[in-house]
């Protein structure tokens, strides 16, 4: 697969991701790299938010281009900024939105939304505006909303970037406890160290791929060169 943004006028086309072949089967995968290196592009390929300009991306045997709808039902996506992710006005409404295709009965759906929020210690903010929540609470609500739809794979784009130390640890703990396969792009090297496999992306290429210790050390060398 590869991703190129076509040029227009006197602007040249820009390669976001050079031709890459990858098979990701580990339960916890981290993608690290500097800003603009291509991490987010790679992540967005996994649920068809971006389609490759050449080659193909398959998730559980489904093509993200021709079967994008089915792929997105399998792959949950958590954004860096939860405010861009939370669609409805309150925490409970947003979780309920994810549950709509699964639970038709309004009362059961509401009860399930509150139960899911309570599981993450968020019951007291259920009826609060997402604007009134702290950054950590918003991110936990975003995770709850995405997980409510029951994805088999969770993709998270820098989920700890906007968080303080305590909330960063909460997110790490949450990810550790998930049964799903998790692919996370991050600048948080502690979070990357929790993974089974770490990919290092630089200028749209995978420049290192392996155990966390080795890959993180490669990344540090690259970043400090």
């Amino acid at each position: 697969m590869a991703v190129t943004v076509p040029g227009s006028g006197h602007h040249h086309s820009k390669v976001l991701l050079h031709p890459t072949t990858l098979e990701l089967s580990e339960k916890r995968i981290a993608i690290i790299g500097s800003n603009g290196s291509g991490k987010s592009t790679l992540l967005r390929l996994f649920n068809g938010l971006i389609l490759p300009t050449s080659g193909r991306v398959e998730v559980a045997g489904l093509n993200t281009g021709s079967q994008g709808r089915q792929v997105r039902r399998l792959v949950g996506f958590v954004f860096t900024d939860p405010l861009a992710q939370l669609i409805l006005a309150t925490a409970a409404d947003d979780v309920e939105l994810s549950l709509r295709p699964l639970i038709r009965d309004r009362k059961l759906r509401r009860d399930e939304a509150i139960r899911l929020l309570a599981e993450r210690g968020l019951e007291r903010v259920a009826d609060q505006s997402v604007y009134d929540l702290s950054g950590g609470e918003r991110q936990m609500v975003a995770f709850t909303s995405v997980l409510a739809s029951g994805p088999q794979i969770l993709v998270a784009d820098e989920p700890t970037t906007l968080l303080d130390l305590r909330n960063r640890d909460r997110v790490r703990e949450l990810i550790r406890g998930l049964d799903q396969q998790v692919v996370v792009a991050t600048h948080d090297l502690d979070l990357a160290a929790d993974a089974d496999r770490v990919l290092v992306v630089d200028h749209g290429r995978i420049v290192a791929d392996g155990q966390p210790d080795e890959a993180i050390s490669e990344y540090l060398k690259l970043a400090r060169a």
């Binding site: 068809g48 938010l49 997105r72 039902r73 996506f77 992710q85 409970a92 309004r106 009826d127």
Partner: protein
């Protein structure tokens, strides 16, 4: 602060009233005055809306307070009519706008968001035969309600940034960034919907 307000649990008659009746009430309070377009009916509708909102027994600061951005927009609209010597229209436009917001609050402050969507979806179900997807329309309206405060907030931020550079009188400097942010917000919302497979129900 949310322009349309968020659901506040309570036991007033408005809280107990079905969402469908509240939608109807909203239409009755807002549509005829738009058609008639006369100061007296607009002011009566505004008064009735205020009385109804008071009867919802909601803490006054939560029921009545509106964001500054709204008042700026209302003043601009009313001011424009005054400048162009349409005095009656200045009253009609401003009163109708305030009525629309407070009448919306009658609905949103007393009804949970999910119930609002369910009521819309139920009302639109007969249109399914005409190719309308009620779930998508319900979702679109819910997103629209969520987006209005985002845009007002965006306007407030841009105005402050323009003031900081002494350019608050430059309409182009105010409008352009708001439009750019609105497009950015729409793209982010679209991506969030697609990521959750919700725009594809």
């Amino acid at each position: 602060m949310n322009l349309f307000g968020l659901f506040l649990p309570g036991d007033s008659w408005l809280h107990r009233l079905g969402a469908g009746w509240k939608y109807l009430l909203l239409l009755v309070l807002t549509i005829p005055v738009l058609i008639v377009s006369l100061p007296a009916p607009s002011l009566v509708a505004l008064g009735v809306t205020m009385l109804l909102l008071a009867s919802a027994k909601i803490r006054p600061t939560l029921a009545w307070q509106l964001p500054l951005g709204f008042w700026v927009v209302a003043a601009m609209l009313g001011g424009y009519q005054l400048v162009t010597a349409h005095f009656d229209l200045a009253i009609v436009v401003t009163a109708n706008l305030i009525t629309a917001v407070y009448a919306s609050r009658l609905l949103t402050l007393t009804t949970p968001g999910a119930v609002l969507i369910d009521a819309l979806v139920a009302a639109l179900r007969p249109l399914r035969r005409l190719g309308v997807n009620p779930e998508q329309v319900g979702l679109a309206i819910a997103i629209m309600l969520r987006s209005v405060p985002v845009l007002l907030d965006s306007f407030g931020q841009v105005r402050q940034a323009a003031q900081a550079r002494g350019r608050e009188r430059n309409l182009f400097a105010l409008v352009t960034p708001v439009v750019v942010r609105a497009v950015g917000h729409a793209q982010a919302t679209g991506a969030a919907l697609a990521a959750r497979g919700l725009g594809e129900i």
